[in-house]
């Protein structure tokens, strides 16, 4: 499904094998724990590698908050620098990504009020076929593409709170824990907020 696309870029320059988002949630590679431990001892090469591993998801989490690529870049950059300074209080053995995303998202929230044009999430123009699926007929492809555009518009019209929880959990494929960290809320709140957001979406677009 769509995940394959997320991996391609994320794996760039990454010594660990490519892996699905599920893999990341269930357990980051041992390499990551090693990198964190080295970075905690002051090894900047290790930290640079950690940044490379996580820069895409960090940037995207910042982007769904700020909806401006320039603001998202600044937020992700500052978040990584702050995370470095806070690295000593990161407990080894805990997942690194939720912790990092909490810091980046907080930076992004602080920039959200800055002036500047806000962009809506957009569909890739050329992308009408889901990888791995049998090629649909042209009519079916058009219908699917219209349906996606409709759904995306509906997501965009949600309240900020609902839009963010849907974006983090589904569009960025974060785990519940990561979504909770990125939004600064509890896991239980993620569940309830998500269920209200889905209810709202269903009212707007119905089930397919």
């Amino acid at each position: 499904m769509g995940r394959a696309r997320f991996q391609t870029e994320e794996g760039r320059g990454n010594p660990t094998p490519l892996q699905g988002v599920e893999g990341e949630v269930v357990g980051r590679p041992r390499d990551e724990a090693e990198l964190v431990a080295r970075a905690q001892r002051g090894d900047d090469d290790a930290y640079e590698e950690l940044v490379r591993m996580h820069q895409e998801i960090a940037f995207r989490v910042a982007y769904v908050h700020t909806r401006s690529a320039a603001d998202a870049e600044e937020a992700a950059h500052d978040g990584f620098v702050k995370a470095y300074r806070a690295l000593r209080r990161f407990r080894r053995g805990r997942p690194f990504r939720p912790w990092l995303l909490a810091i980046v998202a907080n930076e992004a929230r602080n920039r959200r009020r800055s002036a500047g044009r806000r962009q809506a999430l957009a569909l890739r123009a050329a992308d009408q076929i889901r990888p791995g699926d049998a090629a649909p007929s042209p009519e079916a492809a058009v219908l699917e593409s219209e349906r996606r555009a409709l759904l995306l518009e509906a997501v965009d019209r949600l309240s900020e709170e609902h839009r963010l929880v849907v974006a983090c959990r589904y569009l960025l494929d974060l785990s519940e824990e990561e979504t909770a960290s990125a939004l600064g809320i509890r896991k239980g709140t993620v569940k309830s907020r998500l269920s209200r957001a889905l209810e709202r979406l269903r009212k707007e677009v119905g089930d397919a």
Binding site: A76, R89, A208
Partner: protein, 228 residues
């Protein structure tokens, strides 16, 4: 998986995100040099406390409950007042909802010395580790993460008869503040004000910590040192 959720996940693969900038090199360049300079902050705090001591000594305020001065450590603001407000006694303490430590909004610092707490509570971004029972509290350790979702600001009102001292905590970069003597008033976001006993406040990296219930300043420092 319900249809709508599946559709949303499919949608993810067809989204056009702006290209991810290569942050690694830029972040690397901007990493702070080690060790971090600590003097400016330390000096500022020392000057602040000296100034407050002076302000308390003079203590001539037109309004009886006027705030004499305040300063902050981490997410906690300390205000010196001539007279403390009336505070109703709350028993048991209102620390918020009990949570699983794994559900805390940030990674909690833990103490090798104290071991696992008997209860963990969350109220508006303030996580409190309780040792003992809510009815018979032995020790309270509250943690507030800087830059959480809500700017959790706790306030402490300190009247005359309460003293405030800077303390060095081994392994902690910046000095902490030891508030002792007559009880002071603690205001936590979302909770009723309450009287608090001798308290140690300090920050470790991005977390502000507050320890109440230690038998002495030395014991408080020893516990603080163990929380990491």
């Amino acid at each position: 998986m319900p249809e709508l959720e599946r559709e949303l996940r499919d949608l993810a693969g067809t989204l056009e995100f702006p290209a991810t900038p290569d942050l690694a090199a830029r972040v690397r360049r901007d990493l702070p040099a080690q060790p971090r300079p600590l003097w400016p902050r330390r000096l500022a705090l020392a000057v602040g406390v000296a100034f407050l001591a002076l302000a308390l000594g003079l203590a001539v305020s037109p309004a009886r409950s006027a705030i004499l001065r305040f300063f902050g450590i981490g997410s906690v603001q300390i205000e010196f007042v001539e007279r403390l407000p009336e505070v109703r006694l709350t028993s048991p303490l209102e620390l918020g909802a009990e949570i699983d430590p794994a559900d805390a909004p940030f990674t909690l610092l833990q103490s090798d010395l104290l071991g696992d707490p008997d209860g963990v509570y969350l109220r508006d971004g303030v996580v409190t580790l309780l040792y003992g029972s809510p009815e018979r509290v032995r020790l309270l350790v509250s943690q507030i993460a800087d830059g959480g979702s809500a700017p959790a600001i706790a306030k402490k009102l300190v009247g005359t008869g309460t003293s405030v001292e800077l303390v060095e905590i081994p392994g902690v970069a910046e000095p902490g503040v030891w508030i002792r003597g007559r009880p002071h008033v603690l205001l936590l976001p979302g909770g009723p004000p309450r009287l608090a006993g001798d308290t140690l406040l300090w920050t470790r990296d991005f977390v502000t910590l507050r320890l109440e219930g230690a038998q002495s300043r030395e014991q408080a420092v020893e516990i603080a040192e163990s929380i990491r």
